[in-house]
Amino acid sequence: MIEFIEIIFTAGFWAATIRIACPLILATIGEVLCERAGVLNLGIEGIMSIGAMVGWMTVFLGADLYTGILAALIIGGLFGLLHAIFTVYLGASQHVTGIGITMLASSLGFFCFKLILPASTTPPKIKPFQPIDIPFLSELPFLGPAFFQHTPFTYLAILVVIFAFWLMNSTPLGLSIKMAGENPMALEAQGIDVFLVRTIAVVLGSALMAVGGAYLTLSAFDAFYFGMINGRGWIAIALVIFASWKPERALLGALLFAGLDAYQVRAQQLAGAVIPYQFFLMLPFLLSIVAMVIAAKRTRYPKALLIPFRRGERH
């Protein structure tokens, strides 16, 4: 039994937690941005998928890794814009638009992948981001290999999260986004364009989701394959609810979640012979459902979530 506790005291476990958390954090913060502005973005799963594909393909075709991230950012923003045109400007169903965007983004990604690489039986690989040692800190015992020997993309993701916090909590735009999701009429009364604010939030949020997808192909792994997002987007949506739409809680939730995931992989190696691997793989999904049930009692949705804003109409 003691082996199961020892897992937590290995640097490898903590390093894996950070690695697993990164794409989730990016996607979850992205979804928080959208939903705080009043727009549910179910396109997340597909946007992560096409972000992973475009980021990887850009590098595969010869560009450097940072250009890959930028490409993912742009494609994510474009799909966010499409989502915003439908849900914000035209007031179409946010549920169905999101599902449609997920279908379109993932199938378009697969189509383009097959078009460029028609006959690849084994997925081709790129040289992904390599871990860098942070001077001095990386030499610390335990803490060094756990937290200070990650890839640049990981540190970049942390910077992005800090930027998102700053944006949401300390800028007029952040305040406008929150108002657009709580009381759009009041925002409009102040002469601020609700449509525009919501669009900015959805575009930025979707760009983050795509970068989260690209983390998988450019840093965590080195290849793109179909179905690699594997529900991470839906888990992110559950995390947003678990976090009560607060970015800092979303960060915590994603880390907690990633920790459990990293733990189960290691526990699986210990108990693999006894418990079939499928049950371990089910855990993230079951945990997400449990987390939502736990959070349900104190859940307070952004008031204007799912409600399209129409000028000259009162709600």
Partner: protein, 358 residues
């Protein structure tokens, strides 16, 4: 900046309502045609190949109808749920649950004459699908747990459960290492309805259910209640509609339809359960329901349409060297175009004034 406003139409013109799905399909096909050009193929020839592949021979036509069978059922599942504004995105998982029930009861545990065995399997499949959805409905009703996310997440759990069963306790020892379930007994197999094709009784059954659902939704009190809950749950509750009972029925009906799609695939098309039983039929159902504007009779036609895209795309892909994923792109574009057309059907777009600096 150009400003515009959406103004609700008092009454949408009939021609617009009738034409809008066709316009949406046309726009989706034209947009996907751009991708065909990018793939270096002639779009007209490619679409010709697609149509030939879907309807060109008795065999391909039968294949299209066979493919339409589960899609019609999952389309009905989405139509029922979406009418009540209950966002059941879990048809994929419910389909697999129906398939699990078929394997559990249909491979020797229960042996009945065919005339009883087939209805028995459908009832079990429907119950399995409905029972999978029920706890999520209760979570929604009692704890306000968002059903979109729970139904989506449960899809992954169910597929993993199927994977476990097929690799472990339910693995057919005769299957030479390939993970598949035991064969459904002869009494339970859905008979072929067109010789030398894969078209089976399931297609007729799915059409029967489309008409049944249409009857329930438009001719009974339950259907009226489902609609009123979807339009405005609070108002419906005030008017004396039993919300709990209604949503309960929605869950059983919706999950049941998706569960029966698992029955048609396991007992009809394949004869046994596999891990790739459904290449996304559950998600296709959402597109089918939207295309049919949640009308159960319309679901038959939109189901056949979607099936023809999937079947035809395989043939087109072989002939023209265009990736088969084009089919998924067309379906996705159709969903988005339908949403767009719904906006135009229900709203007039009024442009007003060109303002400088907003």
């Amino acid at each position: 900046m150009i400003k515009f406003r959406l103004e609700e139409r008092a009454k949408s013109p009939y021609w617009l309502i009738i034409l809008s799905p066709f316009i949406a399909i046309l726009v989706a096909i034209i947009l996907a045609g751009i991708l065909v050009v990018l793939a270096g193929a002639n779009p007209f020839e490619s679409y010709y190949q697609l149509i030939i592949g879907a309807f060109g021979s008795k065999n391909s036509f039968a294949e299209t109808l066979a493919r339409a069978t589960p899609i019609i059922l999952t389309g009905l599942a989405a139509s029922i749920a979406f009418r009540a504004k209950f966002w059941n995105i879990g048809a994929e998982g419910q389909l697999y649950f129906g398939a699990l029930a078929t394997t559990l009861f249909g491979t020797g545990l229960v042996i009945l004459p065919s005339i009883l065995m087939i209805p028995f399997l459908f009832i079990m499949g429907a119950l399995a699908g409905g029972l999978l959805l029920l706890p999520l409905v209760l979570l929604k009703l009692y704890y306000k747990v968002d059903e979109v996310v729970t139904t989506l997440l449960l899809n992954f759990v169910v597929v993993l459960l199927v994977s476990y069963l097929l690799e472990g306790p339910w693995k057919d020892p005769m299957s030479l290492g390939w993970p598949q379930g035991k064969s459904v007994i002869d009494e339970g197999v859905l008979p072929q309805i067109l010789s030398k094709t894969r078209l089976h009784l399931g297609f007729i059954i799915s059409i029967f259910f489309a008409f049944s659902v249409w009857f329930i939704l438009s001719k009974t009190v339950i259907g009226y209640r489902i609609k009123s809950v979807g339009l405005n749950a609070a108002a419906a509750s005030h008017a004396g509609v039993p919300i709990f009972k209604t949503v309960f029925i929605v869950a059983l009906l919706s999950g049941g339809m998706a569960g029966m799609a698992g029955v048609t695939e396991t007992a009809g098309l394949k004869g046994y359960l596999t891990l790739d039983l459904s290449p996304g039929f559950g998600y296709a159902g959402i597109a089918v329901a939207m295309l049919a504007n949640l009308n159960p009779i319309g679901v038959i036609f939109s189901g056949v349409f979607l099936a023809s895209i999937y079947v035809g795309a395989d043939a087109m892909s072989r002939a023209m060297n265009v990736p088969t994923y084009l089919a998924d792109v067309i379906v996705a574009l159709t969903v988005l175009c339908i949403l767009l057309s719904l906006v135009f059907v229900h709203y007039k777009i009024l442009f007003f004034g060109v303002k400088k600096n907003d």
